[in-house]
């Protein structure tokens, strides 16, 4: 019996390690390629480690001849503003749906629920035309405004506020705070764990979004990172694997840092998703 469970453990570790290798393999090669000269990459050097280690790719993409730095900053701006707007709108809507009594609450709740099921492809074409008529194409507004709410997160906040203790609001009331200031000064700070979970996923959504920037943004200087990355493969002189791998690696780093810092919140978020 003991022998058997030992063999089983070896098998389990083998599976886990094998899958870790499969997961890491592309990243390691991309990372290695970002430190190789292009010649070495395309000449088919079969080794993972660079023979001629160089930082040229990183120097090039962060230099003045490349728009990479602008794209990075654009992504930062769009993701940050988009996330902050989302946090307030989703939390306020979730709070209203959970804690406030008003006529039509159930109807609005089910209305949002129904909207969650509409696939992006249906919304894509009309939203493009709506943004065109609002004169917002080719601006960051086109990336932020239609995504200023996230219905999934409105539900997450609603669920959170359903079990939120009522005495907190009562105490604030006794202290003479009005409804609105109670919400912003007492309720929102207490909802921090849920709001942090929301923030991570919303930020990731903005940061990694490709379809909307590709459709709405046409001026290269206004590209976001995901869109800018593609320019390295569409060069006249052939695909610049060296530059594109370095740019890809840099694009991943902010999210990895976010993940490590907020590790606990991440799992909580996935958990809530899973129980939707």
């Amino acid at each position: 019996m003991k022998e058997k469970s030992k063999i089983l453990k070896v098998i389990l570790y083998a599976v886990l390690i094998l899958y870790a290798v499969i997961t890491l393999y592309p990243f390691l090669w991309a990372l290695a390629a970002s430190f190789k000269p292009l010649k070495e990459i395309v000449s088919g050097n079969p080794g993972l480690l660079p023979q001629h280690f160089t930082l040229d790719s990183y120097k090039y993409i962060t230099g003045t001849s490349s728009l990479f730095t602008s794209w990075f900053m654009n992504s930062v701006i769009v993701s940050l503003i988009g996330t902050i707007v989302n946090l307030f709108l989703n939390t306020m809507a979730g709070y209203a749906l959970a804690r406030l009594n008003f006529p039509g609450r159930q109807r609005i709740y089910y209305g949002f629920l129904a909207l969650m099921m509409v696939p992006a492809q249906v919304l894509l074409i009309p939203n493009y035309l709506i943004l065109m008529n609002l004169g917002m194409l080719d601006s960051f507004k086109s990336l932020i405004l239609p995504a200023a709410i996230n219905i999934g997160n409105i539900f997450m906040m609603r669920q959170f506020f359903l079990s939120f203790p009522a005495d907190v609001e009562e105490a604030a009331q006794i202290d003479g705070l009005g409804r609105i200031s109670t919400f912003f000064r007492i309720v929102m700070p207490l909802a921090r764990p849920s709001i942090a979970t929301q923030a991570i996923f919303v930020f990731m959504g903005f940061w990694n979004n490709f379809m909307q920037p590709m459709l709405y943004i046409s001026t290269p200087k206004k590209y976001t990172l995901t869109l800018g990355l593609q320019t390295f493969t569409n060069q006249q002189s052939g695909v610049r694997w060296d530059h594109s791998m370095a740019a890809s690696i840099i694009s991943i780093i902010p999210i990895i840092i976010l993940y490590i810092v907020f590790n606990g919140y991440f799992l909580q978020g996935v958990r809530m998703d899973g129980e939707k």
């Binding site: 809507a93 709070y95 209203a96 406030l100 696939p119 009309p126 979004n209 493969t233 791998m245 590790n263």
Partner: protein, 309 residues
């Protein structure tokens, strides 16, 4: 979803009934305006366009009845895209579900060390944008890339395989990439649910002499059935809407030879390409929605669960 049954408690003691109603409307107004413009109006607009011939240059709409919808089913390109999408979904969804379940089972086994590190490594693809991932995979699979070098050095091939430009391979490469990048997310969903599986279930089975495989087969999998329904549905919705990877892989063309043309990519091409076919593209998008809905309901039935707990 027991949470929903509880009716929300009214916030007692705040300044009166009307104050509450006003606060609710103020709090919901921004979300409501966004939803009204970019969701509700958009859906109505899309449905309207799908029954019209839309000329974007002259900004004219000409009612054409069901013509766009009939055209979808007589269009060979649409059938190719539908076939590609269906094959893609039929292979990717079962694979991602099975791998995610197995890895989650292995990772949740008692006495396995380094769980946190494994989880961090496994989670990397979920954190990475599809834009960066697709580039990395194109690099791995390109003619002079690491995979070709590996296959040749192993003596499996004499000449490098053009995975990216050969229609026989291109969709398969995207499948591998998609499975690889979606497994971690579903694995985490399974893991979160396995935490709640009472250890006594396994202990009872062990007393009866059950093997690891039997425990997986008769305890873990049945226990996870509701979550599996969730994973399958999300997988189906995700694969039927697959766009980024096919777009970047083919630079928007769906090539080589339409082998990577998905319905979502086709909607994009017909709406924003050189053709003046926005109405047709809307009809395609509506058809895609209906297909996703029908396939999802069928899967839910077949999995024998009443959907999400």
């Amino acid at each position: 979803m027991e949470m929903q049954k509880k009716s929300p408690k009214p916030a007692r003691g705040l300044n009166g009934k009307h104050g509450q109603i006003w606060q609710a409307y103020i709090f919901l107004a921004p979300a409501f305006v966004i939803a009204a413009v970019f969701f509700i109006a958009a859906i109505v607009f899309a449905l309207f366009m799908s029954f019209n011939h839309v000329n974007m240059i002259s900004q004219q709409f000409e009612f054409s009845g069901l013509k766009n919808y009939i055209d979808v089913f007589q269009d060979d390109v649409a059938m190719t895209a539908l076939k590609n999408t269906a094959i893609f979904s039929a292979i990717v969804v079962p694979m991602q579900t099975i791998i995610a379940l197995l890895i989650a089972y292995a990772l949740s086994t008692r006495g396995i060390k380094g769980k946190k590190l494994f989880r961090l490594v496994y989670f990397l693809p979920t954190l990475t944008s599809s834009a960066a991932l697709t580039l990395i995979f194109m690099f791995i699979f390109n003619v002079t890339g690491p995979l070709n070098n590996f296959l040749i050095s192993m003596g499996l091939y004499q000449h490098p395989v053009n995975f990216l430009q050969n229609p026989a391979y291109s969709l398969k490469v995207i499948m591998v990439m998609n499975i690889w990048s979606t497994v971690p997310n579903y694995m985490t969903v399974y893991l979160a649910s396995l935490v709640d599986l009472p250890e006594s279930f396994y202990e009872a089975a062990e007393i009866d002499g059950a093997s690891a495989w039997q425990k997986l087969r008769y305890i873990t999998i049945p226990y996870l059935r509701p979550i599996t329904t969730y994973v399958l549905l999300t997988g189906i919705i995700g694969t039927f809407q697959m766009f980024d990877q096919a777009y970047i892989f083919s630079n928007g063309s769906g090539g080589p030879d339409n082998s990577t043309l998905t319905i979502a990519l086709m909607v994009y091409q017909y709406a924003f390409g050189s053709m003046n076919t926005m109405g047709y593209a809307c009809a395609l998008a509506v058809v895609l929605t209906i297909i996703i809905f029908v396939v999802s309901r069928l899967t839910e039935r077949l999995n024998g669960s009443e959907g999400l707990r």
